[in-house]
Amino acid sequence: MLKSLQPFILGVTIQSCNDHKIANRLTITDYYIMKQLVGNPRMEILEIGKNTSISPRTARRRLDKMIDRYHILEFTTLPNPHAMKGQIVFFLSVKVERTMYDEVLTKIFGQLHNHIILSIMTYDQEKQTIGLNLASEGVFKIESIRSQIRSPIGVKEANVFLPTKIQ
């Protein structure tokens, strides 16, 4: 497959998923909760409990476990670049040293506190890539943000993409 794609490829990363042990710790109820949240990411705990026939307290406990302990659930938004009038939506892909992932992530949050962060994707089991969906008033500001993010120790690469459509 890669061979047939080769003339068109500009970049490729392949990550292996190695969290299969977590799957063994999940119950069928956990999967029911996930199914509810895939259908409606903003569903309230009360409703999740009602739809899965468990108490809201149990739903909350299981959800906390999946989010904070196992890190298998994340909530994000899908921005529409065309609707951001006066703002340029851009995607910043940051490649980091695996050992410094958490440290770099904290630094990035600190550096971006004055900017519009539409969503952040920290969802990389290999802990090598951080994806950021940001908005800025102009292209020069985008480059300034990129170089600011690129500078800390532990950041290997910071690349900007200007999306026209995400689906």
């Binding site: 970049g11 490729v12 998923c17 298998i72 909530f75 539409l118 089991q125």
Partner: protein, 76 residues
Amino acid sequence: MISEKVIERFITQINPSILGYQTICNFVIRNDMLEKDFLERISLVGDIHYQFYVMGGVEGFVMMVNEGSEERSNYC
């Protein structure tokens, strides 16, 4: 932001490994020369998690691959 459609929708992301996927491939490709049925063929190998179009005729997609799909990928 919701009423102005700046936020198109909210998303729940699930770790693919708990759904049985073993590999995640991120591709950034030039789309202006790509065959139209390419995405159909690639779906034999895995499921496309999401797809994005970037300025300059570039397209990216994230694909989740199941065990045993490597053999099927030879036919793509």
